[in-house]
Amino acid sequence: MILTRDGIAWRIARDLHEGAYVNLGVGIPVLVSNYLDRTQEIFLHSENGILGVGPVPKGDHIDLDLISAGKGFCTLALGAAIFDQQVSFAMMRGGHLTHAVLGAIEVAQNGDFANWKVPGEAVPGVGGAMDLAVGAPNILIAMSHVTNKGKPKIVTACTAPLTARRCVKRIYTDLAIVDVTPGGLVLREAMPGHDPAAVQAKTDAPLAVAPDFREMAVPQVAANGAKLVQ
């Protein structure tokens, strides 16, 4: 049993709490917004100039001038602020956001990670990924544990072009949650049916097992009907 993309997003959302200022990257990370505890006030940052991104607008409530970083229309949450690029990147690079949730191609045991240059993509594009990575104190990675071909993505050293060095704090995969610590990688949770040895078998870098290691507890289906495990 492993997590779906929604399942990874759901699990990350459980670790975000009131007062967090969070940037959600493309891919699995943007799904996190669907699973946040709406009784808590969590500010979502969009690098094109919003702090306090609200839900996707419905029907004819679309404002053509209000888009988020994914270029889809959005709304504003209570207490939101609008600003330009220089302020937006001050928030990112200046360490003001509390969390950035980003996808990755590879994460290394020292916290290096690679996510901007997709193998096989002939035209490179980096956007704000490197600025987020050097700024936010909590870089959370959301990704599958292995590639489509079964190759581990948590590695001893990245081979793909780096996004930033030594910045990842925690990795959420479809299989496990792994912390990056000064002493190396620490396995905190794994999906039912995958003991530490099974996770290690799919991980290139050595994993220590946390003293409070536990089975991940994720429901089958989310409140919005999305399948969380498969």
Partner: protein
């Protein structure tokens, strides 16, 4: 009486010369000067260096400049997979790409606009975008040197404008428009509405007129308002 308004985009872009470097405001369609870009395409200046966050998202607007073969270089952070016209030229080797992390791009433009020579950023240190760059340790952290960036022209989009060149944006239109307005020799803005002097409250002027040379009122073209699928990003 100061009057920076012009009646057509054609007139506004008429001084753009072959080989010019041009900054384009906008992130997605918000704050993207679609009508000025169309006038520029018709104007036909060639060998342009384009400074923009991306390279467009289809055959219109920025995409049309690449489609028509008017650009020789792009300085950008994110030429998206949907920027087909750019990508085709780039892969043929007809257009050069200088890829810059988005925050570094913003800051280089800001430096150019505020008279600074360059700055040190932690962004990109240890990555291949730093290759050949100068790295300096300041208070125990490594930073990469980046140089100010200026251009000959800026094409921008505001919501309201007045005869002094004051601009006010709406929603997420501000994006790159505000910094780019400060960093170009000639700054041209299209706006949804030119309002009488004094109608934009002094505390709501986002780009003071000192930075702006020409303002043109345009109607939004429906084809420039591409409707993305809701749900792409919350």
């Amino acid at each position: 009486m100061i009057d920076k308004t012009l009646s057509t985009c054609r007139e506004a872009v008429s001084k753009v010369f072959d080989g010019a470097t041009i900054m384009f405001g906008g992130f997605g369609n918000a704050g993207m000067p679609g009508q000025l870009i169309e006038a520029l395409r018709e104007h036909g200046a060639r060998e342009l260096t384009i400074v923009s966050n991306g390279a467009g998202t289809g055959p219109f607007a920025l995409g049309s400049l690449f489609g028509d073969g008017l650009a020789r270089k792009l300085i950008a952070s994110f030429p998206a997979p949907s920027a087909a016209q750019f990508r085709e030229r780039y892969l043929k080797g007809e257009v050069e790409l200088e890829l810059v992390p988005q925050g570094t791009l913003v800051e280089r433009i800001r430096c150019g606009g505020c008279g600074l020579g360059g700055f040190y950023t932690p962004t990109g240190v240890g990555t291949e975008l730093a290759d050949g760059g100068e790295v300096r340790e300041i208070d125990g952290r490594e930073y990469l040197f980046a140089k100010a960036l200026r251009a000959d022209f800026a094409l921008l989009k505001g919501h309201l404008g007045d005869r002094f060149g004051n601009l006010m944006y709406r929603g997420t239109m501000r994006n790159f428009n505000m910094v780019m307005a400060t960093a170009c020799d000639t700054v041209i803005a299209e706006v949804d509405r030119i309002v009488p002097a004094g109608e934009i409250h002094p505390e709501q002027v986002h780009t003071p007129g000192i930075f702006v040379d020409h303002v043109v009122q345009v109607e939004r073209l429906p084809e420039l308002v591409k409707l993305p699928k809701p749900g792409a990003h919350a």
